[in-house]
């Protein structure tokens, strides 16, 4: 029960501090809001400010719970002292009895469902994965760590910054409850927007369409961030509308902060900055307002860019790696990752409308049956505000096709919902009854048991009210143990000594595992190490081809092999296991004075010069003319042959060998190599691969099930040089045997 109360306390203090900070800023700016819009807009504005404060605390490594609690109490105390806490402003038109009769039970039953789910032990896939996994790491280190092995640690984390103080007080569930606070703020803001327009039914119906949407429910009551993003972008839009109505330049401050905070919460929401700038440019036709918005946006954006620039040499990591080249993320990872996010296994994109509304297994969640009527939102085009809503929704929807998961529709969903409500029920005398009926239909069709009648069996969504779990009548560990992944995380922690890093062929919920797992695609390092394992098993990745370039004897200090072909396969990489130089058939020994470099992927060039057949230098991006491996012997050597140990995985590669002449120009020596098949059958690539991983200070390997590598290791761990040390819950943990060579 103490866990449950701590979770409530952590979330309540964080949410209250957000409201307090926002309310103080609103008052400081002298902005006048209506009473019904003050709470949600102050909450999101304060969240933006508080997130920066937490960012600063993490930067200076002062993230101890007393400091974080003092921050929250300071904000609340400040608002109370200054009188900003109080709701004030013009009261709106009183709400009709019918509206209350529809809204109170509709919202009430869903908030009950969401509240107990958020309050129950957190076990959502990404929530207990990276969203809270990174929070746990930050709190353990009392600040930001220099993490270069996890792409998720480089994403902007504006909502997760608020999870930090909540988690410090109330652990995992507190973070989920903070996210739920964003959902409540979003619904209140949408309702307030309708009231501001004089269309309370539109506001209520629009808010409910979003609020009760199944994917919004599960996301908003988990430690995710999508609903938070939606609340932030809608608030930015709302402040734009306030500025446009009042032309009070002070309103541009929250416009800029909220638009910038959108980027800070999720990269894909950066379009809100463009929308805000475009809107202000269109309406003001002056530069000064634009500069105001840009400056305050930058205050939210720049810290995240700087952090990534400092840590991983790429301000927009983990994307843009072909522009901001760095040793930590491969461009090929980015390409493959982006392709996965664009696909989700939906081969026929024409089925997407059905997938995201009523099926949901592939795209992981549904918006709900009601959203099959989404085209009715176009009826809102007849209103000025309807056009604006649709324009904002369209802009926010632009990035959807970069990630077609249903939850990536959540940021534009409030705009679509309000436009639908406006299109269906605005302006007609029969609007309220229609909108009331729409809300009832949406409530019924989105309620979990009903939703599961039409959605796919394994759709991501809520099931029932977790009353006993939330109150910890069912003990937390007992409930979490019903999830196999949680037990797997505990097994990892029980098996692997503290401080040891693990190479993972799969992950576990990091928020419940105090061990660093270098997992699959998440960094250049883990990709390269897993490539060693793959190349031990997959024949096409093995160095079965030796390409020999013979040429007239040449004396020189710099030689290189140059790739000249333009390939058609975007996945084609050039890989070199070893590059050797010979004279009269005798290898020129590698000396420490040699200097070697490569383009692309210069950071891994040593893999082509380490005499290990288990390792290989790869371009890790689509191979292109001009890619090279370059050797400076440090003195003149006589060379008449270059040999490449390579793999036959791509055929379009064309190589030539060149030497640098006395004028510093490259001169071609040979092309069209003689290729012979190499016999490495007496060598154990498996053991060599594990040796390399061991040599990099990684002594444990985590494997799952149903994976060809896991199968191969499980069948003969001794041949790999590993010993199984634990098994269960869908994972096996191996200890890498001590390095013997």
């Amino acid at each position: 029960m103490i866990l449950a109360l701590a979770a409530l306390l952590g979330a309540a203090l964080t949410a209250a501090a957000c409201y307090a900070a926002g309310a103080m800023l609103i008052d400081k700016l002298g902005l006048t809001l209506r009473r019904f819009e003050r709470a949600p807009l102050a909450f999101t504005l304060g969240a933006a400010c508080l997130h920066l404060a937490v960012f600063a605390i993490l930067t200076v490594h002062l993230a101890y719970w007393p400091v974080l609690t003092a921050l929250l109490l300071g904000a609340i105390g400040g608002a109370l002292a200054k009188g900003s806490w109080k709701l004030r402003g013009e009261q709106g038109e009183p709400l009709s009895v019918n509206l209350k009769r529809i809204c109170i039970p509709s919202f009430g039953i869903f908030i009950l469902l969401y509240f107990f789910h958020a309050w129950a032990p957190e076990m959502s896939p990404d929530g207990s994965g990276y969203h809270l996994g990174n929070v746990v790491r930050e709190l353990r280190a009392h600040g930001f760590e220099r993490i270069t092995t996890d792409m998720y640690a480089t994403l902007s984390a504006g909502i997760e910054m608020l999870f930090v103080p909540a988690f410090a007080i109330g652990r995992h569930s507190a973070a989920a409850l903070v996210h739920l606070a964003f959902l409540v703020a979003l619904a209140l803001a949408m309702f307030a927007y309708g009231r501001r327009l004089g269309m309370p039914w539109v506001g209520a119906a629009g808010a409910f369409l979003t609020f009760a949407s199944p994917v919004v429910g599960i996301d908003g009551s988990s430690a995710y961030n999508d609903v938070g993003v939606a609340a932030v972008v809608f608030s930015a839009f709302y402040w734009l509308e306030i500025w446009d109505e009042t032309r009070d330049s002070r309103a541009l401050v929250p416009v800029g902060l909220m638009a910038g905070y959108a980027y800070a919460t999720k990269y894909t929401a950066f379009v809100m900055v463009l929308f805000a700038l475009g809107f202000v440019a269109w309406r003001a036709r002056k530069v000064r307002p634009l500069i105001t918005v840009a400056l305050f946006s930058s205050a939210m954006i720049v810290p995240w860019m700087l952090k990534d620039w400092i840590v991983v040499q790429n301000p927009i990591a983990p994307f843009g790696n072909a522009i901001f080249r760095n040793p930590y993320f491969h461009p090929m990872f980015e390409k493959n990752y982006a392709e996965d996010l664009r696909s989700y296994g939906v081969t026929d994109k024409r089925t997407l409308p059905l997938e995201v509304t009523i099926r949901g297994e592939k795209t992981q969640g549904i918006l709900g049956l009601t959203f099959l009527a989404a085209p009715l939102a176009l009826l809102a085009l007849r209103y000025r505000h309807g056009r604006r809503l649709l324009a904002a929704g369209l802009v926010l929807g632009i990035t959807y096709f970069a990630n077609i998961g249903t939850r990536f529709l959540i940021p534009p969903l409030p705009f679509l919902s309000l436009a639908m409500a406006m299109g269906i029920g605005g302006g007609f005398g029969i609007g309220p009854p229609i909108l009331g009926a729409l809300m009832v239909f949406h409530a019924v069709s989105s309620w979990p048991p009903e939703m599961r009648h039409y959605a796919d069996h394994f759709v991501w969504g809520l099931n029932h009210i977790l009353f006993e779990q939330a109150l910890r009548i069912v003990p937390q560990d007992q409930y979490l143990r019903t999830e196999r992944d949680y037990s797997a995380a505990r097994l990892v922690e029980a098996t692997v000594p503290a401080g040891e890093r693990i190479l993972g062929l799969r992950g576990v919920p990091y928020a419940y595992c105090n061990r660093e797992i270098l997992s699959t695609y998440q960094s250049a390092l883990s990709q390269t190490l897993i490539d060693f394992i793959n190349a031990s098993i997959i024949e096409d990745y093995q160095p079965t081809v030796v390409e020999s370039f013979k040429f007239q004897e040449r004396s020189g200090s710099r030689f290189r092999v140059l790739q000249t072909a333009t390939v058609h396969d975007a996945n084609a990489q050039w890989s070199v296991h070893e590059l050797r130089f010979f004279h009269n058939g005798i290898e020129i020994p590698r000396r420490p004075e040699w200097r070697i470099q490569a383009w692309t992927n210069p950071w891994e060039v040593q893999l082509a010069f380490d005499n290990s057949l288990a390792t290989r230098w790869r371009t890790w991006e689509t191979v292109k003319p001009g890619d090279f491996l370059d050797v400076d012997f440090g003195r003149d050597e006589v060379v008449d042959e270059a040999r490449l140990d390579t793999s036959p995985d791509y055929y379009e590669i064309r190589i030539q060998v060149e030497a640098m002449d006395s004028n510093g120009k490259w001169v071609e020596l040979a092309r069209d190599p003689k290729a012979v098949l190499a016999d490495h059958s007496k060598y154990s690539l498996r053991r060599a691969a594990i040796y390399e991983i061991n040599a990099r200070g990684i002594h444990y390997l985590l494997a799952g099930e149903d994976d060809f590598r896991a199968d191969d290791i499980r069948d003969d761990p001794e041949a790999w040089g590993m010993t199984q040390v634990a098994s269960g819950y869908g994972i096996k943990i191996y200890k890498l045997n001590g390095a013997t060579k």
Binding site: I323, R325, A719, K741
Partner: protein, 185 residues
């Protein structure tokens, strides 16, 4: 004193310098050349790779491979019934051996006396063994390659001729199973 004012164009052009500088920085991120690393010695294969699909009852996932008649009690060993079976996924079928580690329990042996176990692979009778004392036993017999299909589950099982029948509830107990499966030799 005249007051200099920037035009919007001037401001905009100067603002362009910043992303330009960022872009140029990005293009220059080439590390200094490296020296060759420590040279590795090749690992000679000390033993051929052999597939080993033995289900250890101590394995946390052992229950996933039970077909029937093995009690899902957890722990490091399980009671079997009369005809226990488990499944193992095989990626090869040459040189396979059927391996069972079991224990004839003293508590049942005193009632049943010597028992005979018949061992099966995919329904083919592989061998029989009679155990005339209680205690741990190891069974290891080669399996004809054509009994097992590559890339499919193989069913390995055993049948005890005289299970012990509980007088209280009639439950039939066979033997204590520790490990069962196929291994390539």
């Amino acid at each position: 004193m005249s007051r200099f004012r920037y035009s919007n164009l001037t401001v905009n052009l100067r603002l362009l310098l910043l992303p330009g500088a960022v872009f140029l920085y990005a293009c220059q991120n080439m590390p200094a050349p490296y020296a060759p690393p420590e040279q590795r010695q090749p690992f000679e294969t000390f033993a051929p790779y052999r597939i080993n699909r033995i289900i250890d009852m101590a394995d946390g996932d052992a229950d996933n491979y039970i077909v029937h008649d093995i009690l899902r009690t957890g722990g490091t060993w399980r009671w079997t019934g009369k005809h226990p079976e488990a499944r193992v996924f095989m990626r090869a079928n040459d040189g396979l051996h059927y391996i069972v580690d079991l224990t004839i329990a003293g508590a049942t042996f005193k009632d049943t006396g010597p028992v005979t176990l018949t061992f099966y692979v995919n329904g083919h009778l592989l061998d029989k063994a009679t155990y005339s004392a209680s205690g741990p036993e190891h069974f290891d017999e080669p399996v004809p390659a054509d009994w097992v299909q590559v890339g499919k589950d193989a069913i390995v099982g055993a049948e005890i001729d005289k299970p012990w029948i509980s007088p209280a509830d009639g439950v039939a107990l066979g033997f204590i199973l520790n490990r069962i499966g196929l291994r390539q030799e």
